[in-house]
């Protein structure tokens, strides 16, 4: 069963820029893959289509057994709750503690606060930041902030974990740590798709690599 499948997907933005052209690929449930290509190759657009931050101009995107074209706007929140996303720019909120940042998805989904606290601590301990839960993320390093973002993405145990350039601002050693963290989640069954242009790191990791160029899929489909 495919966790994600793209069938002849194209995305043309207003103004005529083709971000994706006829992309076909599928990612099996429990698989881990890298999505690579130069900047502007369409990696972010591909992730946005999965997140329903954008709609395709043509073709079909399936996540699990759900055809995304059939999801109305008001169903998007429930779709996103099944997915965990790690952003390059972290998207953390600096008006609250590390704990509250990680707890946000659980709070939104309506978890019992006691249960939520337990899950937040489990996620923070997995990324090694349990002792910093009461700090403001602004006081932490870039690597630590990225790990908070990862904790937030996995705190609700999503079926699918997406990451957009998760190592973009990190030094090589930290980058490798972060990638290994993703491998750990994949080992317990989470489907993982990571957009990255760090080719040497990707090669060392040795997972399936999907390469985009100018919006077209050139290898790994």
């Amino acid at each position: 069963m495919a966790a994600i499948s793209f069938t002849n997907v194209s995305k043309r933005y207003e103004g005529g820029h083709d971000a994706l052209v006829g992309v076909d690929f599928s990612l099996q449930s429990g698989e881990m893959a890298f999505l690579t290509g130069h900047s502007g190759a369409g990696k972010s657009t591909l992730l946005k289509l999965i997140m329903l931050m954008e709609r395709p101009s043509r073709g079909q995107v399936m996540v699990g057994d759900q055809d995304l074209a059939q999801l109305q706007r008001n169903m998007i929140p429930w779709h996103r709750r099944r997915i965990g996303v790690v952003f390059q720019n972290h998207q953390l909120l600096f008006d609250r503690t590390v704990f509250d940042n990680v707890a946000l998805p659980l709070q939104i989904s309506g978890y019992d606060p006691v249960d939520a606290a337990r899950r937040v601590r489990a996620a923070l301990s997995k990324v090694g930041l349990l002792e910093k839960e009461q700090q403001n993320p602004i006081s932490l390093s870039s690597g630590e902030q990225q790990r908070i973002g990862i904790a937030r993405a996995i705190v609700h145990k999503p079926q699918l974990l997406l990451a957009d350039e998760p190592t973009g601002n990190l030094d090589p050693a930290l980058s490798e740590d972060v990638m290994h963290l993703f491998e750990q989640f994949n080992r317990v069954g989470t489907t993982v798709l990571i957009a990255s242009h760090d080719l040497s790191l990707i090669n060392r990791m040795g997972h399936r690599t999907i390469t985009l160029s100018g919006g077209r899929l050139v290898s790994g489909g």
Binding site: M53, D65, H79, Q91, L93, L104, P113, V188, T190
Partner: protein
């Protein structure tokens, strides 16, 4: 995910929605907790900027208090007017030369007049008696050799419009028996007309100021909304519904409306209290039982509900439009 051929646990098997389904009871509890939490947080957020909040509340309070005060004042004036019998009557002062029999005859003739509902004759003797009894100047009468008071016929016209009254007055004044025809209570009718006009004006004003409240609350919330843009985007990315994102802003509207209305209530009651002493003193001079009435339970509730409704609507108006625009990109 294909759930049929997938064991519940295993190393490389995805653990999907089954593992983290949220119970309905938890959801409900969390939903009500979130309401409580968000309402408190919205209030706290307002208190973080006390000066700005107070200024906004002052604007809201004045906008709500002004029509509230005007309508209450009008109600008081109306209460003042209702103390009198407001049916306008015409008093016909009969010529001294007419004999008592002629006067009697004259009043009977008037009863046949189509334009009159009732006719009451006050003979000279009774007028004299009434005067000495009620005026307190009875002693003066002893200076006169004969009864100085004319007979009076009080008539109640059918047509009570001002124009009708004046026409009838002219007609009756022209009768040879009548010295003078005086329209009584016409001024009360005029007062009533002025009150109606003022009331209409107050409602128009209330409408405009209500719109002001709506816009002030809306604009204030729009600014907080802009300042919390990042938070909204992140919340939407991790699966927040529109209702969830909108909730804190609706509560802000709720608080602005409630606190603005409470402040307006204090302003109205304060203004009436300041005026009450003077008005009551004036009423006492006229031996009237009139006393200044405040907003009362009904008026207070109306003011509060209006404030709440406008506050929440203001929040609703702005969030409905702007939250759709704030989407993660």
């Amino acid at each position: 995910m294909d759930k049929s051929n997938r064991p519940d646990q295993g190393q490389n098997i995805p653990r999907g929605a089954v593992a983290h389904r949220v119970k309905f009871g938890d959801k409900l509890r969390s939903w009500s907790n979130h309401h409580l939490e968000v309402s408190v947080q919205s209030l706290q957020r307002m208190l973080l900027t006390p000066v700005a909040t107070l200024m906004t509340l002052a604007v809201l309070a004045i906008a709500l208090a002004l029509p509230g005060f005007m309508l209450t004042a009008l109600q008081n004036i109306q209460q003042l007017g209702s103390g009198w019998d407001t049916d306008p009557r015409i008093a016909l002062y009969i010529n001294d030369s007419a004999s008592d029999e002629r006067v009697e005859q004259f009043s009977l003739e008037l009863m046949l007049h189509d334009g009159l509902r009732s006719v009451e004759l006050i003979e000279r003797a009774r007028a004299l008696q009434d005067f000495s009894e009620y005026s307190g100047f009875g002693d003066i009468l002893s200076f006169f050799d004969s009864n100085p008071l004319p007979a009076v016929v009080l008539v109640l016209p059918v047509d009570q419009s001002e124009q009708g009254l004046l026409t009838l007055q002219a007609e009756l004044a022209a009768l040879p028996e009548v010295d003078e025809a005086v329209v009584d209570m016409l001024w009360i009718q005029r007062l009533q007309a002025y009150i109606n006009l003022a009331e209409r004006f107050s409602w128009v004003l209330a409408g405009l100021l209500g719109l002001t409240v709506l816009l002030v609350v809306g604009n204030t919330i729009r600014m907080t909304l802009e300042s919390r843009r990042d938070e909204i985007i992140v919340a939407k990315l991790v699966g927040a519904t529109d209702a969830w994102v909108r909730r804190p802003f609706l509560y802000s509207g709720f608080w602005y409306g409630l606190l603005g209305a409470l402040l307006a209530w204090v302003l109205v009651q304060g203004a009436l209290w300041l005026m009450a002493d003077n008005v009551n003193q004036l009423a006492q001079l006229y031996m009237s039982g009139f006393s200044v009435q405040g907003l009362g339970v009904k008026g207070s509730l109306l003011l509060l509900l209006t404030g709440l409704l406008l506050g929440v609507s203001g929040g609703w108006m702005v969030t409905g439009r702007h939250l759709r625009e704030i989407e993660p990109t």
